[in-house]
Amino acid sequence: MSTPRHAALVVALALAVGACGRDEIISVDSEAAPGQTSQTREALLTPDRLDAWIDTLYSGFARPSSATYLQIEEGTPNLISRALFRFGIIQDSVFLADTVSRALRFDSVRVVAGMDTLRTVLSSSGTTLRLLAVGQQWDARSANWEFAVDTSGARIAWSAGPGGAFAEVLAEATLTELADSVIFELGARGDSLLRSWVDTTQENTGLALVVSDSGRAVLTAPRVQYRLVPEVEPDTSIVLRSFANARTFIFDRSVLPNLQGVLRIGGVDGWRVFAELIIPDSVPVEGSTSRFRMRGATINKAELIFVSLPPPVAPFAAETDFAATVFDLADDFRVYGAKTPVGDAVLGSELAFRVDSIAEGSELRFNITRRMATWARIASDSTPGPIRLMVRSLVEGGTFGFWEVGAVDGDVRYAPVLRVVFTPPIEFTVP
């Protein structure tokens, strides 16, 4: 065999030396396991254990006109609330036999609204909902109990005083039991009403829904449904429908002011919690007097824990379950306030607020593991910035009421807590 062949064989065999088999795993008792490891630690970081914890509250991110529902209520201890809506687009012609035919008449005109049966409360004798024509122009985004228009440029009070200005009653529906929807038949008034909405170049004043006796109804966006009888074929009719293009509800309560020590999440006003946390690299942990380095550790779980205050006074306590979630804030809210740009949602942070089971002192735990893991991964030779978070309801304006939790500057019993379960890296010793 030649010398090069010798060499090649030696190299090949040398490589094979490294190709040793590997052991299987065997089961051992945890107390007796060999090898180096790192204990998983739990840190309950109250605000005083962080370098800084600042929180504040902003609202106005939702309003009744952007709510997912319309709330009408009367004769209850909570509030009086009335719904306003208008249909801006009424189809008054159809395409038949290659020609456009205008409507000869509108038949079977009805207004239909879905009903949220969980939030609707009928009186024992039944609740009557009344469909009314509104008597003056109103602005959906700014209309409130006092004013039909309430913008920075114009403020027009309701001509009939607070609570709206209504004209004739168009229809009534008495609810004695909960149903999926409520229907208002307009009868003979339907044709002329729809024609008035079509013929005018001005925005129509729309309709209102009120409770005429007592009870509460929570409705979805109303639609008008009708049969168009074309001029060219008066023996036929075509069913058409149109959804309200502007809607809101007005109520006789003002927005609650901010209170010291109180944070709010949710509600028709869109309450949001803004928080900034400056976390030290090493933190005290449960069951030890030592501090352990959290920077560079594996974050097994991190929770932003808010402690529930007593439920807000009626009608501001969330009337139904809702979900809230945590978002990253892209900048300093102490500079940009409510307009601070919002980043991505913290994945996995969604939390269901089951309002019937949240008692005073209950802990509301938002999972922010991914955000904390990002913080912990920042290179050890860098200085991590603060963690800035915003907490809001997942669907803003999804509930009328909100929930209140303790703030840093409030009663220490309700102070928020950052809970982190982490495993410091193993510093394998040599050998």
Binding site: A33, Q36, K301, V421, F428, V430, P431
Partner: protein
């Protein structure tokens, strides 16, 4: 002779009998530098690792003076699969490993001198354990499963020179380069519905160092060969953690081995070897653990069972006992085995095939654990003439 053989078997069986064990568990091979490996071939394995002096070709990379007895260039390799069964109240399971303990070449450079090179094992650091435990948190107890692994070990690369300085005396020396890496990992997985992130970390520990071995083989009679080997590792081992960029120096010990081979008859050879390594000198290098001197004794017999025109078949029987260097929980671990081997010399010595079955055990006085192992060693050698 039959009585003599029975006595050897009884002694070997005694070596294999398990001792009483008490105390806490530490798995074998997890302490210090790991579990020692030797660059021996299947023939030496069958003879209780008696590779210091042997009649016939001694292919193990233990005594460089044995190279001088080779009169043709050759290459050989050993392959060593091993099944281990760990038994104990605190641990149990089966291991399967496979190593190449020896790859070696030899090239006569003159009538007297033979040059050799080889790779061999030095320490094995392969092990893995798994357990479940509970983490106590403010929200309640949380179960997790943890796995700790170590893969790798330390190898030795040897450049050897052996030569005859007389008809009866051979001398040899070896330059040894130690190199290796162990990859350590720990993973901790929590209950699936806990929404806890798993923990996983790993590191690589690298080893480098060099040493030397000096050997001699003396044959005062044709029927008797005696040999000695001294191993000296002046540089120690440089141990580096590539994750933390930390380094440490670990001394390596000196060691002495002596052995003899006796041609009892034309068909029968008996061999024995004793050795000592002063690992206790490293005690300070292993804080929290300790090292103790290692010693070893082994021997065996080889019977030429069949002889053909140019081939022969050998049957071998051996046993050995070894004190391992790294003390575990105050207990000095041991390893013992009984071996049975077959070997064939083919085509007038141009080829050799050897296979050995070892049945053995490992343990330590203070361990609540024992390993039984079944180890096979296969060697193939090819010579140019």
């Amino acid at each position: 002779m039959r009585r003599w053989l029975i006595a050897v078997l009884i002694a070997a069986a005694h070596l294999l009998s398990p001792p009483q064990v008490t105390g806490q568990l530490r798995l074998l091979g997890t302490a210090g530098l790991g579990r020692p490996l030797k660059p021996v071939d299947a023939r030496a394995r069958a003879l209780g690792d008696a590779a210091i002096a042997l009649h016939g070709s001694n292919l193990s990379a233990i005594n460089p003076a044995a190279l001088a007895r080779l009169n043709a260039a050759g290459i050989w390799v050993s392959y060593q699969p091993e099944s281990r069964t760990v038994k104990g109240e605190l641990a149990n399971g089966d291991f399967e490993t496979a190593d190449f303990p020896l790859v070696r070449v030899a090239l006569p450079v003159s009538n007297r001198w033979v040059l050799g090179a080889g790779f061999g094992g030095y320490f094995d650091q392969d092990w893995g354990v798994m357990f479940t435990d509970t983490l106590s948190l403010s929200t309640g107890d949380l179960e997790f499963e943890e796995t700790r692994r170590s893969d790798g070990g330390i190898s030795q690369f040897r450049i050897e020179l052996g030569g005859r300085v007389g008809n009866a005396l051979s001398l040899g020396m070896t330059g040894i380069y130690y190199s290796g890496e162990s990859r350590l990992s720990v993973s901790r997985v929590f209950e699936v519905d806990s929404a806890f992130n798993s923990f996983f970390t790993r590191a690589a520990i690298q080893y480098q160092g060099w040493g030397a071995a000096f050997g001699a083989e003396y044959r005062p009679l044709d029927e008797l060969a005696i040999g000695a080997v001294a191993t000296w590792n002046p540089s120690g081992l440089t141990v580096r953690n590539d994750t933390t960029n930390t380094e440490a120096d670990v001394d390596l010990p000196i060691g002495f081995d002596i052995g003899a081979s006796l041609q009892l008859s034309q068909e029968l050879v008996a061999a024995v070897a004793l050795g000592w390594t002063n690992w206790s000198a490293l005690d300070d290098d292993f804080p929290g653990r300790s090292a103790a001197d290692a010693y070893r004794i082994g021997g065996g017999i080889e019977l030429e069972a069949l002889t053909g025109r140019s081939s022969s078949l050998f049957v071998r029987l051996g046993g050995r006992f070894e004190r391992l260097p790294f003390v575990i929980q105050g207990g000095k671990p041991w390893e013992r085995s009984l071996s049975l081997g077959l070997g064939a010399v083919l085509r007038g010595g141009r080829g050799r095939l050897d296979g050995t079955l070892e049945l053995g055990g490992r343990g330590a006085e203070e361990l609540l654990i024992e390993e039984d192992f079944t180890r096979y060693t296969f060697s193939v050698a090819i010579f140019t003439s």
